[in-house]
Amino acid sequence: MNPFEFVEPESLEEAVSLLTKEPGRAEVIAGGTDLLSELKDGLRRPERLVSLMGVEELGGVRWERDRVWLGASLTLGSLAEDERLSGEYPILAQAARSIATTQIRSVATLGGNLCQRPRCWYYRHPGFPCYKKGGVHCYGVNGYNRNLAILGHGASVMVHPSDMAPALIAMDARLESFGPRGRRTMALEDFFAGPNEQQMQEHVLERGEIVTGVFVSKPPSDARSVFLKAQDRTGEDFALASVAASASVSDGAVTRARMILGGVAPVPYRSQKAEEYLVGQAVKEVESSKAAELALCHARPLRHNGFKVILTKNLVRHAIETILKQ
């Protein structure tokens, strides 16, 4: 690893000013579980790392009357083990528990999970000057692309690796951030940016802007949800595909539906077609395989990943059957 200076400010303002002082030279570090791999492989060479772990206000879970705030520095381990969260937002604990290993979850943070970089092997390999590193070419397009995108690809066929993102988007979460221009919130769905919008990052944060937390509204009493994930090996593999589904049912009919796919597109992919199909349907008449076909109707698999289309359809089917039975 190249030498750098490690600083641990105690306030957000200080962190932002340290990040903006010499733009391009400083990076945020939270748990470091993703960033350290990039630094070891020389994919980034910051001169300064600004740690967020000294900023107390970024930690913890805050319960409000009709929503909960999850701090950016909350670890995935605490998220998975928080009993009240698991009770009221089971989909979030399911997603958190599915991520990596106990050792990673002890350290990895929610903010870091949402801001983590692509896991594509061409991106991670120091020898490939790929598009997401500022090059002109996405090696995944014609290379070995078994794990890469089947949907929504543009200049790069990377997939977004986060499992927390689909689960949170299925709960209509809002992301809160703080930057040189102050505090703002946005729908988490709008936080992610595909390769055609942003080349060198996967979100819309400005230079020096920091994710501070995520708000999730209290789900209606008739809401149900599930997070499902397919991996080569359970344990520490990233998702080949994941599905976060939530729905409300009243008087035997679906009144609201969210169907978010992870690991299949450069951003968490919302399948509006499947959602539209579900809303208004009588539960008894829902054909989960029809919804699955609709969810993947825009799929354009690459040479080695046609199987991901079938896999994802099966996950969608299974997710719908699970939530309609709840």
Partner: protein, 171 residues
Amino acid sequence: MRLTVNGRARRVDAAHHWTLLRLLRDVLALTGAKVGCDRGECGACTVAVDGQPVYACQMLAMQARGKEVVTVEGLASEEGLHPVQRAFLEEDAGQCGYCTPGFVMAAYALLLRNPSPTEGEIREALAGNLCRCNAYGRILEGVKAATGKMDSRPRPSRGQALRGNDGEGCG
């Protein structure tokens, strides 16, 4: 920087870009935590930080500032081996032994949080440790044999000096 290692308060000089693993092995001469993948995937470097299992290769030394680190060298005491170590020996829970310190520390951290885990909980807690010799069956038996045996032995805490193979020549 200051941190507590195996019950002993230490002051060490660490470059900002060093990992915790490098600090432990190269400065404190605690070579129990092994270098495997160096990417947070194999578990050979597992240590406990404030009671939580972590990959020492995937954490900067600076991130352990002010924290309490326990390595495999810190488990045994004057009374002998730690129950997890004893159980691993008795159950022959390893072959070449390279992964063993990591597994022992992952099991130790699990039993701190949950003294009587189910088999499923053990499997989940150890999923972040790989064994190239494929001794998983024995390792599982080792952890099972250690369950329920940790209460008698509290983890080293600040100020409680444990005599381990604590390195020399550092702050």
